[in-house]
């Protein structure tokens, strides 16, 4: 029973990692930029989720507001911070990204206070019985459900629509894609919008699970998402999804069985190191 419980916990955590890391992988695939500030958008999503829920009492509305506004902010970040640096070495954009991340954390501290925010009436705290005494909270069910819905929509978009197919082509080879009339700039906007909106959704989910958002909650998410996309084989969407779930499950079991030696975050990286020793190119090498 404990094993099933841990597995479920791992999947919930993995689903959140997947939502964060997917945007990072998409942006890396398209622009070869390691978008560290992505984790700040995750934090901002959490704040917006809590604030809008507290003001209006509606969690779905809060989720939509968080995803749309953070998605738009992602476009602004691309336009103002990354686009002028695209001709430079990728390290320049990386440094800009780290600077942005730190700046965002400080802005959160100034605007929202350094102690964090919580829901006034935490939604979905009730538990459901999945049978055989296996309990899961409604909020965790929502996290899994949301992840499945969002990923299915993305999968449908990228394989069944012309925009999605053009998007995948552009991620693989922008130069050739532009030869066929695809507007690369528009694809980049779409990429930043979707990636950032997913991070915001993850932020709202984490706020639901922990009932706390604080200025630095993006820090762990930031380096763990980097570890996940490396493990997944930089730029590979499928690899990122598998790596997210794998790290979620390793953490959840590891915390119980070897938690007295290694803490949760150390475990994730130990797993990364071992996995990369076996498959240095990542789980799925991008084409």
């Amino acid at each position: 029973m404990l094993a099933l419980d841990l597995l479920l916990q791992g999947i919930v955590q993995g689903a959140i990692y997947a939502l964060i890391a997917l945007g990072l992988t998409l942006i890396y695939g398209l622009l070869r930029i390691l978008h560290v500030a992505h984790a700040a958008l995750f934090t901002l999503g959490g704040y917006i989720g809590v604030i809008v829920t507290n003001e209006t009492g509606s969690l779905p509305l809060a989720l939509i507001v968080a995803m749309v506004s953070v998605g738009l902010l992602g476009i602004v970040i691309y336009r103002l911070a990354y686009k002028p640096l695209l001709d430079q070495s990728p390290l320049v954009a990386l440094i800009a990204s780290i600077g942005l991340f730190i700046a965002f954390e400080e802005v959160f501290r100034l605007v929202f206070g350094s102690y964090g925010l919580s829901f006034e009436n935490p939604p979905l705290r009730t538990q459901v019985n999945l049978g055989g005494g296996l309990l899961i909270s409604h909020s965790k069910l929502l996290v899994i459900g949301m992840a499945i819905v969002i990923l299915s929509i993305l999968a449908w978009l990228s394989t069944r629509t012309r925009t999605g197919i053009a998007w995948k082509a552009t991620v693989t080879d922008s130069q050739i894609a532009s030869s066929f009339g695809i507007n690369i700039e528009r694809v980049r906007y779409l990429n930043f919008f979707i990636g950032s909106a997913l991070a915001a959704a993850a932020g709202v989910m984490v706020a639901l699970l922990t009932n706390l958002v604080e200025p630095t909650m993006g820090a762990v998410a930031s380096y763990k998402a980097l570890a996940i996309i490396v493990l997944g084989g930089l730029g590979s969407v499928r690899g990122t999804l598998v790596a997210s779930i794998a790290i979620g499950i390793v953490e959840s079991f590891g915390t119980v069985y070897v938690g007295h030696i290694l803490d949760r975050d150390a475990l994730a990286f130990a797993f990364l190191v071992i996995a990369l020793m076996i498959r240095p190119q990542g789980l799925f090498k991008a084409g």
């Binding site: 197919i165 693989t172 894609a177 066929f180």
Partner: protein, 233 residues
């Protein structure tokens, strides 16, 4: 139809092509030959809009397109079959063609896809297979088919035979011949000089970025010493 006047292009301070001019008409194969690094691919990339020339002009049917971006080249009927084929390996054959027809409306997309499948029945058989899993020759056919999707008037083909088995090279050249008879202008870059000469209506030999010799295909074929002198073959 295609008119190139005194173009100079390069990367940064390095000039890769000096003062190149030529005219080519519909229904022709214009072969650009030369050794490695002679500036053939640079010329193709300039025609495709990926490398705007520093000087000179490129006009299609009287429209100056020199400075226009690659994305607008298809509006002037120019399509690219790039060096190394560069099909989208993670997309299916069918989706590669969908990208090729990105500028088309939905109904035309389907019609053109059927037309392309008729020219390349082998691609029709493999339509749901990932492009990355095709053989080199099949990928070359897909690259040509992808470029044909938007009904181009001018096809830029960079290194048609590179890395292909002789049998596949024959098939690819047969396709070039068919397209030429349909009235397309084909600008063909080749390192395999003999194959290019066999189909060429016009030949230009590039040497270190300069035009070293230019003439009709017949001249080049009858007086092969002209070409071999420049290519050292």
């Amino acid at each position: 139809m295609l008119s190139v006047k005194n173009i100079q292009c390069g990367y940064g301070d390095i000039v890769a092509v000096h003062d190149l001019s030529f005219d080519a008409a519909a229904g022709e194969v214009f072969a650009l030959i030369g050794a490695n690094g002679a500036g053939k691919t640079t010329t193709i990339m300039a025609l495709a809009g990926h490398l705007p020339p520093n000087q000179g002009s490129i006009t299609v049917d009287g429209c100056d397109i020199s400075a226009g971006p690659a994305r607008e080249r298809l509006q002037y009927g120019i399509a690219l079959v790039p060096e190394g084929r560069r099909v989208f390996p993670d997309l299916s054959v069918e989706d590669n063609l969908t990208v090729g027809g990105h500028t088309l409306e939905r109904a035309r997309l389907a019609t053109n896809r059927d037309n392309v499948y008729q020219i390349f029945p082998r691609l029709a058989e493999r339509r749901s297979q990932l492009a990355g899993s095709l053989s080199g020759g099949e990928q070359q056919m897909l690259a040509i088919a992808r470029a044909m999707m938007a009904d181009p008037k001018i096809l830029l083909v960079d290194e048609l035979s590179l890395g292909l088995m002789p049998k596949m090279v024959d098939e690819c050249y047969q396709v070039v011949d068919t397209l030429k008879k349909q009235g397309l202008l084909i600008v063909l870059v080749e390192q395999s000089t003999q194959r290019a000469l066999d189909v060429a209506d016009q030949v230009a030999v590039l040497e270190s970025g300069h035009l070293a010799w230019q003439g009709s295909g017949d001249e080049a074929r009858t007086d092969s010493s002209v070409v071999s002198a420049y290519l050292g073959t």
